[in-house]
């Protein structure tokens, strides 16, 4: 069955929350609220996460991996370079001295953590991205958008729910 994309715009978070709650409470064939619903907002709003339900964030795992990788890479690269001095006279000093190497290991730990966190962010947030089928510049100004993807048969029910909650504007487009 062909699919539709519908975007409804609201003037505040309370209206958007009421819509999401009604969509959750109403079983609609051809529309899964957990998969097919996206809320777009001009600001980061913790309540959006609450009414959408807990969705996992994996960026911190990238951070952990990046920091450990950076630290280990830093330490072993420095140690390998210092190993080049093996044949040279070291005056009884250790070939791989831990205290001074700690400083660079620490810097590499942070560098790896920061770089890979941002990589993780791009992957997890799906960026860079092409514009979604429906996008309104008003979302980056002062309106809250609710974008849904559904089977064609469910489109009218969804539009009726959006209209019931005083949507400022409803846009519709055929999707894949």
């Amino acid at each position: 069955m062909s699919q539709r994309h519908i975007l409804a715009l609201y003037s505040n978070f309370n209206e958007a929350e009421a819509v999401v709650k009604e969509l959750r409470a109403t079983p609609i064939k051809g529309f899964d609220v957990n998969k097919d619903l996206t809320v777009k907002s001009p600001i980061e709003h913790p309540e959006v996460e609450e009414f959408l339900g807990n969705k996992p964030v994996y960026v911190q795992w990238f951070t952990l991996g990046g920091a450990l990788m950076g630290g280990l890479l830093g330490f072993f690269l420095i140690s390998a370079a210092q190993g080049n001095f093996y044949a040279q006279f070291k005056g009884g000093k250790p070939i791989v001295p831990f205290p001074p190497n700690f400083v660079l290991t620490y810097e590499m730990f942070i560098l790896g953590g920061v770089f890979i966190s941002v990589l993780g962010f791009l992957i997890c947030a799906g960026l860079p991205a092409r514009r979604s089928p429906l996008y309104s510049a008003k979302v980056s100004e002062d309106q809250i958008g609710i974008l849904v993807k559904s089977d064609e048969g469910a489109a009218n029910t969804l539009k009726a729910i959006f209209a019931k909650h005083q949507a400022l504007e409803i846009q519709e487009e055929a999707g894949k």
Binding site: T38, V39, K40, S41, P42, I43, E44, H45, V48, E49, L52, K55, V57, V59, Q60, T63, A67, L77, I78, A81, Q82, N84, F85, P97, P100, N101, V103, L104, Y106, E107, M108, I110, L111, G113, V114, F115, S117, V118, G120, F121, L122, C124, A125, G126, L127, P128, A129, R130, R131, S132, Y135, A137, V139, S140, E141, D142, G145, L147
Partner: protein, 460 residues
């Protein structure tokens, strides 16, 4: 008085900030012109020094660092308050940072870029900067990984790249606003490219929040480590006047101090030039001023600790350097440093001056003059009164080439900073909206429960 009006419409916030990108006051162009002229002086001096040799800078043995390394430390220090304070205030949920953190972070980035130039310039043969980079020479020998100078290179690279990332990631939602609102042209193309297709979806915001917080957590220890390592350049040597245990915290406090003073200066300039009176408000300025005063007192205390520990250490060479600073050739500058760094900030303790813009502008410039003198007074006196008596008659006065380069570095920084503010939004639009939204919600809640009237003041 509230930090910001809670009834500003979100569309107006967009409009005001976007207007700043296209219609600044005429003073903007004057500043830009002066900055380019100052940069021209530095370029002239560098070309002259490059062609003729380091002799024209009046540097000799043992004065190998001069104003160049003093300015390097100054600019590294200047960079500290931007990203570090932004990260700390973000973790502490101090939302008054929101209208001012963007330009402070930009200040960090451009200060670091300015600082890096001095390292190259002080070498004379600028290409030899590769000796500070971790790769082997033609004989297979690597740089000394136990040297604080190499740590410096790594720490500054990490700090610069992380600060740029922090600045950029925090700017993505605003770049999307610019993309949506700008007319066709090079700006729209630039913002479209840099905003990465941001649409403000719940998925994007969720991951954005965690990433921004994580990077902020990394930046705090990183910023402290960077200036501690710069302090190690001095503290780990055996030179009198430098071999001091308290140097790392002293450097970090000094860095925060000069950074805060610079934030005040730039706050006042941007507020006027870009018509940001509604966002960069006097109550926010008052908070920065109080923070600066507190840091000034920490710096003063650490100075006193340094003097006392040198005086009572019975290390004659260190004591001689301290005496020489206070009574020798450099005495006027040393006392000027004490005056600008410890006496002038006392004006910030008075309420009437905490929002007096002309006074604050003058004070912030004097504070930074004091902090620049502090760095010079760390570098020069030790060279002219080291352990070996042959250094004792080597008072060195920098030539016009060194002064020209220092002068021009302010032009270079100003040029980069002002161009940034013209191309990218220097006030975070989405975060000011958050600030306005959350504060108005809190006020409504208080009004609903009747606590607002009882308290007789705003939510924050």
């Amino acid at each position: 008085m509230k930090d910001i009006r809670e009834d500003i419409a979100w569309a107006k916030i967009n409009q005001d900030v976007l207007n700043s990108l296209e219609n600044p006051r005429k003073l903007y162009w004057v500043i830009l012109f002066v900055a380019i002229a100052m940069l021209g002086v530095a370029l002239g001096c560098e070309v002259y020094q490059y062609n003729v040799g380091m002799g024209v800078s009046n540097m000799d043995n043992p004065h190998m660092w001069g104003l160049y390394i003093a300015s390097f430390i100054f600019w590294i220090g200047m960079s500290h308050s931007g990203t570090l304070l932004s990260a700390i205030l973000h973790l502490m949920h101090a939302d008054w940072r929101k209208p001012i953190y963007r330009f402070a972070e930009a200040m960090t980035t451009f200060s670091l870029m300015t600082a890096g130039l001095f390292v190259a310039v002080h070498l004379g043969r600028v290409w030899q900067i590769y000796y500070a980079l971790p790769y082997p020479n033609e004989r297979g020998a690597w740089p000394n990984f136990q040297s604080p100078l190499l740590w410096d290179a790594m720490a500054i690279f990490t700090y610069l790249s992380s600060s740029i990332i922090f600045l950029y990631v925090g700017m993505i939602p605003d770049l999307a606003i610019c993309r949506d609102r700008m007319h066709e042209g090079w700006r729209k193309k630039l913002y479209t490219l840099l905003s990465l297709g941001w649409e403000g979806t719940d998925r994007q915001w969720r991951n954005f929040r965690v990433t921004y917080l994580t990077v902020a957590c990394f930046l705090i220890p990183l910023a402290v480590s960077v200036h501690s390592i710069v302090a190690s350049d001095f503290g780990m040597s055996q030179q009198p006047g430098w071999h001091i245990t308290s140097f790392p915290p002293y450097f970090v406090a000094g860095a925060l101090y000069s950074g805060c003073a610079a934030i005040i200066t730039l706050f006042i300039i941007l507020r006027y030039v870009f018509r940001f009176e509604e966002y960069m408000t006097l109550p926010i300025l008052k908070k920065i001023v109080r923070l600066t005063f507190a840091i000034a007192m920490v710096w003063t205390y650490l100075n006193a600790v340094e003097f006392a520990s040198v005086w009572y250490s019975h290390d004659q060479a260190s004591k001689d350097v301290l005496i020489q600073k206070a009574s020798g050739t450099y005495a006027p500058f040393w006392w000027a440093m004490i005056f600008c760094g410890s006496i002038v900030p006392l004006t910030l303790a008075f309420k009437r001056f905490q929002t007096n813009i002309p006074v604050l502008f003058a004070v912030s410039l004097l504070l930074n003059l004091g902090m620049w003198l502090e760095r010079w007074m760390i570098v020069a006196p030790t060279f002219s009164h080291g352990i070996y008596p042959w250094t004792w008659d080597h008072d060195q006065w920098p030539s016009f080439v060194q002064w020209g380069m220092v002068f021009g570095s302010f032009g270079w920084f100003t040029l980069l900073f002002m161009v940034f503010c013209k191309v990218f939004p220097s006030v975070s639009m989405y975060e000011v909206k958050e600030m306005v939204y959350h504060r108005s919600q809190a006020t409504k809640k208080l009004e609903a429960t009747g606590e607002f009237a009882a308290a007789g003041k705003g939510a924050h």
